[in-house]
């Protein structure tokens, strides 16, 4: 899976939790919190991504990324380590 595909997956699940972002054009520097995602929304979005990937990442590691680009990088790194 490429970084771009991961970004698309994150965007897809973000739109699922926050339907008002339907028309938003996601870029790597987008921060979920700036897009209106509260802590529960962020937990929900990252879990949906994990579920789609069949990959479990600890909550502690998910605190690290500062934007969705870094989040995609984290997932990419985890996928490549499998």
């Amino acid at each position: 899976m490429t970084r771009m595909e991961l970004l698309d997956l994150i965007a897809q699940h973000t739109r699922e939790v926050l339907p008002d972002l339907e028309a938003h054009h996601f870029i790597a520097s987008d921060r979920l919190v700036d897009l209106g995602a509260n802590s529960v929304d962020r937990a929900e979005i990252t879990m949906l991504v994990q579920e789609s990937l069949g990959l479990s990442v600890s909550r502690v590691e998910l605190f690290g990324p500062k934007n969705i680009g870094e989040l995609a990088d984290l997932f990419l790194q985890k996928l490549n380590a499998v």
Partner: protein, 405 residues
């Protein structure tokens, strides 16, 4: 201390209609919507009959993200609360003086069962929001967030009496001046196939006798009744002090003159003549009424053999033989946690319309001497109405409602 509590707004949804206008039209026309239930998670090697809400129409005030996260019970709560809120013009009231009581416990069983089934073999991916949604009080969270309620909000459980208990609790919050306005919400009980199985096994839910004629299965007080038939519903009733309603110049639907509650001291589903009689007498006494003043009774009337018989005996024991009587559950089914609230709404809509709705399938009443509204509506201006709700565990409740002057 406020003198009396009144109802200034109502919202309702049931399988026969969404909103008071559609609901009342359906009630007076005797419309029903019983079929073999279709909602995912309701059946397992079964064909339980019930009345399910086909579609919920939401206003644009409720955000898509809210609806995405909301369970069926929450969605129903949001639409009935909005209807009641708008009618009572609660945006004109200080939010810190508004409360919400949600009637019902363990109301989202089907939703939870669906989640358990879905994540049975991959629990590591369970949605984080499950931590919120598994609790009934999640409805309080959704509703207070949507409407900005800042006074109080919590749930009360009393099995099938929950809806009336919520009204009692809301009225208590108003008369003790904790808030000026308190909304009672009878939550939509979302049964899974497990609860249907249990209710059937314990002998409370009706049998397969009418499997091929679902429209005949729900028949409270008829000789061929053999248990209740489930029906999804949800209702909200705005309770406030008369003074509070007058400040906004709102004409109330009715005055809540008093209420009574009595326990049977019995864990079982069995009804009790003594307990029901006591609840009625308590309510009427607190209201300062005489029993002879009651001209309409909205009974619990589920269709259970023992329950229907005990209730009619209680009405006889109280001398309520002249009051008009019909059975709202014959048209909408038994909403369990929602029933008490939705049936109060049915009562107040009949009071407003000066008309009583028919009772479906009441072909041979188990007591034909009572003053039944049978297959046709009856024109009657209700003055003093009594509404009854009973719950498993020996819970008996009665409320007294008066036409406002």
């Amino acid at each position: 201390m406020p003198s009396k509590s009144v109802v200034t707004g109502m919202g309702v949804i049931a399988a026969i209609g969404q909103g008071k206008a559609a609901f009342a039209t359906a009630l007076f026309s005797g419309k029903t919507a019983f079929t073999v239930m279709q909602r995912p998670g309701r059946q397992r090697k079964s064909a339980y009959i019930g009345a399910e809400i086909r579609e919920i129409v939401f206003s644009s005030n409720i955000a898509k993200r809210t609806l995405h996260a909301a369970s069926l019970s929450t969605q129903a709560a949001l639409v009935v609360l909005e209807e009641a809120w708008m009618e009572a013009r609660l945006s004109e009231v200080d939010p810190s003086r508004i409360g919400l009581i949600v009637g019902g416990s363990n109301i989202q069983q089907r939703e939870l069962e669906q989640i358990h089934e879905s994540y049975r073999n991959r629990s590591e991916f369970l949605r984080p929001t499950y931590a919120l949604s598994f609790m009934d009080s999640d409805l309080c969270g959704f509703c207070t967030a949507q409407f900005g309620i800042r006074g109080l909000a919590y749930t009360v459980g009393g099995a099938s009496a929950s809806g009336q208990l919520a009204i009692i609790q809301a009225a208590q919050a108003v008369v003790t001046n904790q808030v000026d306005v308190c909304i009672a919400l009878g939550a939509l009980m979302d049964l899974s196939h497990w609860e249907c199985r249990g209710l059937r096994a314990v002998g409370a839910m009706g049998s397969d006798r009418y499997a091929n004629e679902p429209e005949l299965a729900c028949r409270p007080f008829d000789r061929n009744h053999d248990g209740f038939i489930f029906g999804e519903s949800c209702g909200a009733v705005v309770i406030e002090s008369l003074e509070s309603s007058q400040r906004r110049g709102i004409k109330p639907y009715a005055t809540l003159c008093g209420w009574g509650m009595a326990m049977d001291g019995n864990r079982n589903p069995d009804p009790s003549l003594e307990g029901e009689t006591q609840a009625i007498q308590n309510a009427v006494e607190v209201s300062g009424w005489s029993l002879a003043q009651v001209d309409y009774v909205n009974p619990h009337g589920t269709g259970s053999i023992a329950g229907d018989e005990a209730e009619l005996k209680a009405l006889r024991a109280c001398g309520l033989t002249n009051a008009y009587l019909n059975a709202t559950k014959s048209l909408i089914g038994h909403g369990l946690s929602a029933a008490g609230t939705v049936e109060v709404i049915a009562t107040l809509l009949q009071m407003q319309a000066a008309r009583l709705h028919p009772t479906s399938n009441l072909e041979k009443p188990i007591d034909p001497t009572l003053n039944w509204v049978r297959d046709k509506p009856v024109d009657h201006a209700i003055e003093n109405a009594l509404t009854l709700s009973m719950g498993f565990g020996g819970i008996n409740t009665a409320l007294c409602w008066q036409q406002p002057n």
